[in-house]
Amino acid sequence: MDLGNLASLRYFYPELLLTGGMLAVVLLDLVLREKAILGDLSLLVAAGALLLIGLEPHATGAWLFNRMVVYDSFALFFRALIALAALVAVWMSIGSDEVRHCEQGEYYAVLLASTLGMFLMAEAVNLLMAYLALEFVSLTSYVLTGILRRNRRSQEAALKYLIYGGVAAGTMIYGMSWIYGLAGSLDFNVINRALFAGGAAPALAVFIALVLILAGMGYKVASVPFHMWAPDVYEGAPIPITTLLAVGSKAAGFALLTRFFYPAISHLAAGGSWQALKGVEWPQLLLIICAVTMTLGNLAALQQDNMKRLLAYSSIAQAGYALMGFVLLSDDGIRAMLVYLFAYYVMDAGAFLVVMIVANATGREDIGAYRGLAWRGGAVPAIALSIFLLSLTGIPATVGFIGKFYVFAAAISERFYVLAVIGILNSVVSLYYYMRPVKEMFLEQPAGDEKPFTGEFWNYGLMGVLALVTIFLGLYPPPMIAFASRSLQFFVGRS
């Protein structure tokens, strides 16, 4: 189906709700004196968007808005994931001491706008749309990162983010112009046909274009060598925003990356295996990036003493594991990637949430703040954080193990043994730094001069839910796997 503007709207309700919600927040900010309601409203909007995605009509797929965006089950998966990330981010914002002191109206409006941009990234099928969506997410992220106006780290992080983002986006749009020159179109489908037509495009030119485009997308998923912004930004931004960037924005990056490298420039062959363009070895290129990303992320994380930085490097490494599924050129690989991203969402959001709870209680984010946490009234968050960190390591009976199992299984079945071994060794290395906070919390005694630890029920509630989901999906993953399997359909149309 190729739908025009008006006909497209019925597939676009979640995005419309987000837009409406964003405008409502801006308007209410002008008239209301009690600003706390803006957070609650945003929470409703995020929940509503998630609900609308769940209620969406089952269709095999459609082009929307004259082939700018697409409606298919792959986009559905990522929109659901992003909506979940936004929901957690808003929930955390309401419970965050940092956010309570900044401008509520701007904060929530931009947060919802950023979510909208991520939705569009997940469904863009036109290079122009892809670029606009990506930039939209970037711009809103700069604002959100720097929203703590009196905090120097926050300001510095926003500036760094802006500079890196500008360079990456510029590089990407230059690459896109090469593709346009080679294919004569910005439409993914037309690009695909043009590139696969006999002897049409010189391989070297296509390769250069892909490398340039990769800069922009690699920047969004924070893969090496486009990862340098991540530790500073994760550290400087308010924790709910760090969470949104770490799970939501990264997921959107993966969505765009996958849609561009799979249906746009590869062919689906029989039996769920994909064929890359002849002469353009992007899987090899990404394979190296993937191996380097997880290794570098893990090695750098070993040295960190700030929890946000530690989790930032960890999330770089986690992107590497997810990329393992990406480079396999098979539906199994993509499914593994989806499973991994979902698992990553649950455990990483949980870990950041506990970091926020501790920051609320102690005002600190360094590992020293966790010393003896379990023995001074913080046993519950300590146990929850341990669950999340062990899940990130990939210890069984957690969702993280299922994610790793899928990724490694896909790699072995496609005979990428070296990659599997690198991944496995990496998860052993990662154990060391994931256990450092655990060691601090349980194995060390409190110094004795700390205040008794207190947390709010609001935050503990979400933490409990995420911890239970981590364990439940670790023991009984079929629901998550079924969701990922259903989402493997890309709509490519016929014409």
């Binding site: 210890i395 072995i412 079945s413 154990l431 079929p478």
Partner: protein, 499 residues
């Protein structure tokens, strides 16, 4: 009882839940809940022992239910002659270790809850027949162990705990890769160990060798086989008494059990090729090197830890012999080592609780002050030396008889080490218990009722198995002889083609 194995595995988990919801004002109740949870486990183990059919090689008490269909993963439990003795050992050691834990007086809720989780993990490893399930239990066990050593351990506990965790995780990720390899490159994709064993001939010999070595490293770290053994002395020295008991009594057996459960039946051709080197030679190194290290130790607990490494070497040597005597001896040795080493660690704990140090040279003449304690130590030491009439004699002799034909030199080295073993144990006994009483220790009480209660059952088993080894051997024999046949008859053509 159709769900005997599920019950025996998850009863401790119920105990754990009860401990966790038990309010802090009932603090003394934790230990009794834990004890109460291990009693039904022991009872079910007894029931299994009574109802076990010793004349079949088939899996018994089987339970099976689908779990993750996308990967053909089942909740599949069952025991045969290879695992039944380990189930008995686990139930026994866990029961004993709860009572050996009574001297723990810090954060008891967490301690007993983790102990219960550890119990479930260990039992699960021995009863699961689906490789994926096996792996889950295998890993689940690591966590409580990390915390039990790390929170309730000695001065260098943090180092010992993370070292244990890192070593074993490195081993288990190799097992994970091997498991996935077996899954994808068999005739049908499955994690069912019985099916994997039935399609063993499907795997090419070169594939078998790679997977075999990956699995071996994973399991060898647990045994622990030289050169992967360095975590063990650290872990033992820092761990609290009961955890050392579990570590030596049950956890080490998982390594050799894994090889018997996975490597031998699923990769028989590679086992036939590689066992002499990886199990025979390394096992002999374990025996000799462990004994020599034990001789050099100043710390009582470290001495026991190294002697434990040395004795596990006999298990490996017996497994490498591929004779009925050798392999039966190996599994019997696993059981005997479990009971004897558990006794030794409890005995170390008894004196440590009183003196708060373990310096062998710092004692002297304790036999005068604590005669019962010295007497039981004597039984355990003599059992450790392999004196006739005590359990380890039978198993070590079986191992040596079995290994003599295929590996004469290793057997001679193994047998000769008995002299070293006697040397370090007697020397240690002399320094601690004999001679004039060190005045510092005058007035020390002899064994308390609780301590005697943890030691006597183990001592009785050591005595009984010394004269009536058939009580355990009859369980093992049928399955092990069958397993031995499988390995011996594994495709000699494929083996020959390589040379």
């Amino acid at each position: 009882m159709t769900h005997a194995l599920t019950l025996i595995t998850f009863v401790p988990l119920i105990g754990m839940a009860l401990i966790l919801i038990c309010p802090a004002s009932f603090k003394p109740a934790y230990r009794w809940i834990a004890a109460a949870a291990t009693v039904p486990q022991l009872a079910i183990a007894g029931w299994l022992y009574a109802n076990f059919n010793t004349s079949t090689t088939a899996m018994q008490f089987v339970e099976r239910a689908p779990w993750i269909r996308a990967y053909h993963i089942f909740y599949f439990l069952g025991v045969d002659g290879i695992s039944i003795s380990m189930v008995l050992l686990t139930a026994l050691i866990c029961f004993i270790s709860v009572f050996a834990s009574f001297s723990i007086n810090r954060a008891e809720k967490g301690y007993y809850a983790l102990l219960m989780l550890l119990d479930t993990g260990m039992m699960g490893v021995f009863v699961s027949l689906d490789f994926f399930l096996f792996y889950i239990f295998w890993e689940v066990m690591l966590l409580p162990m990390y915390f039990l050593i790390g929170i309730w351990g000695g001065p260098r506990r943090e180092y010992a705990a993370i070292k244990f965790f890192l070593y074993t995780l490195l081993g288990s990720v190799l097992i994970l890769l091997a498991m996935l390899g077996l899954y994808y490159y068999g005739a049908t994709p499955t994690f069912d160990m019985t099916v994997l064993a039935a399609q063993a001939a499907h795997y090419s010999i070169s594939f078998q060798r790679i997977v075999w070595i990956a699995l071996f490293i994973g399991f060898a770290i647990k045994i622990p086989a030289f050169p992967f053994h360095t975590w063990l002395p650290d872990a033992h020295v820092e761990a609290p008494t009961a955890i050392s008991v579990i570590l030596a009594g049950v956890l080490l057996k998982m390594g050799t059990y894994g090889i018997l459960r996975v490597n031998y039946p699923i990769l028989p051709a590679a086992s036939h090729d590689l066992a002499w080197l990886f199990l025979g030679v390394i096992g002999t190194v374990n025996i000799v090197y462990g004994a020599m290290c034990a001789m050099a130790q100043e710390d009582f607990k470290k001495l026991v830890a190294y002697s434990s490494i040395s004795h596990m070497g006999y298990v490996m040597l017996g497994m490498a012999s591929f004779t009925a005597a050798g392999i039966n001896g190996a599994v019997l040795q696993m059981f005997n080592h479990g009971t004897i080493t558990a006794m030794l660690f409890i005995l170390v704990g008894v004196i440590y609780d009183r003196a708060h140090h373990r310096e062998i040279d710092g004692f002297g003449g304790l036999a005068q002050q604590m005669p019962v304690y010295a007497g039981i130590t004597g039984i355990a030491f003599f059992a450790g030396m392999g004196l006739p009439g005590l359990s380890a004699f039978i198993s070590e002799v079986l191992v040596l008889i079995g290994a003599w034909q295929p590996h004469p030199i290793m057997t001679i080295l193994g047998a000769a080490t008995a002299i070293l073993t006697a040397g370090y144990l007697l020397w240690c006994f002399q320094r601690i218990y004999l001679g004039p009483l060190n005045e510092k220790y005058r007035g020390y009480p002899d064994l308390s009722f609780r301590e005697a209660f943890t030691l006597v059952p183990l001592g009785v088993i050591v005595l009984i198995l010394g004269v009536y080894p058939h009580a355990i051997l009859s369980l093992l024999n049928t399955s092990l002889v069958h397993l031995n046949q499988i390995v011996l008859s594994a495709n000699p053509v494929a083996t020959a083609a390589l040379h």
